[in-house]
């Protein structure tokens, strides 16, 4: 039995898919462990976690949620079939700009919360809070930077891969937002 030779495009698609799955699974595993840890700690220390949450700025976080959703929408516009190179470029740059707005707002939010981080009562909460949100923030900043790079020479395979990762980061935030700020 002979097998049809795999074209170069098919081979790169398979490789791209595999890389994407590995990336997505590793992201979800890493954030799953962190969020699971936060959930367990919030059950074990309900009073200190409940009190610490009162010092978080849920308004900024809520606004950041809208910013991230809008950014994901722009990324999806860039990834849609039939978009011209110029449309892809504009959508990617808007998505990146909104990603950087998220980063800026998050740093502003941190500046209002840092004063409480040194308090021994809230130590466990803020250690986990800064670790989880900081890890997420690093992802947002990095992928937003990649959007800018891809916008210079948009190729659909790169756009689809980045958009998928962006949506995964978005989903992680959508789970993180109610858990950390309201859970």
């Amino acid at each position: 039995m002979t097998m049809a030779p795999l074209s170069q495009d098919d081979a790169s698609d398979e490789g791209g898919d595999l890389l994407l799955w590995v990336l997505v699974f590793s992201e979800l595993a890493a954030f799953g462990i962190l969020l699971g840890g936060f959930l367990v700690m919030s059950v074990l220390h309900p009073e200190s976690f409940g009190a610490a949450k009162l010092h978080l700025s849920a308004r900024i976080a809520g606004f950041n949620t809208v910013v991230l959703l809008a950014s994901g929408w722009q990324a999806a516009l860039a990834a849609r079939a039939g978009a011209s190179a110029m449309q892809q470029r504009i959508a990617l740059l808007v998505a990146a700009a909104l990603g950087f707005v998220f980063v800026g707002l998050k740093f502003f939010e941190y500046s209002t919360e840092l004063t409480y981080a040194g308090d021994d009562t809230f130590a466990a909460f803020f250690e986990l809070y800064f670790m989880i949100t900081g890890f997420h923030l690093a992802h947002v900043a990095f992928v937003a930077g990649l959007f800018v790079l891809v916008a210079r020479r948009p190729e659909r395979s790169n756009i689809v891969m980045l958009t998928t990762i962006w949506h995964v980061i978005d989903i992680v935030w959508l789970v993180m937002f109610p858990l950390i700020y309201f859970g």
Binding site: D17, L20, W21, V24, F25, L28, G32, L35, L39, S42, V43, P46, A58, R59, G62, F63, T65, V66, L69, A70, A79, V160, T163, T164, H167, V168, D170, I171, L174, V175, F177, P178, L179, F182, G183
Partner: protein
């Protein structure tokens, strides 16, 4: 989803109690969004086992968060 989150921001601004329905809506829409991305962006319609494994992540956390929110109200 943007409408629901805007409602959450508005409630926060007015220092109103956050309706649990808003949080439930966000979590349900998150699962729906995850399903769209997994099936359409990641092209996993033909690989239901892999799609289910990926979708298990948001579903598991949404259930855990809802249980965490509901527990103090029930007990």
């Amino acid at each position: 989803m943007m409408g629901v989150v805007s409602g959450v921001i508005s409630a926060q601004w007015k220092h109103e109690t956050l309706p649990v329905a808003a949080l439930v809506s966000i979590l349900l829409l998150t699962v729906f969004k995850a399903r769209l991305i997994i099936l359409d962006f990641m092209h996993l319609r033909e690989r239901p086992a892999l799609a289910a494994a990926l979708l298990a992540w948001p579903i598991l956390f949404c259930i855990a968060i809802l249980a965490r929110i509901a527990a103090p109200r029930l007990f």
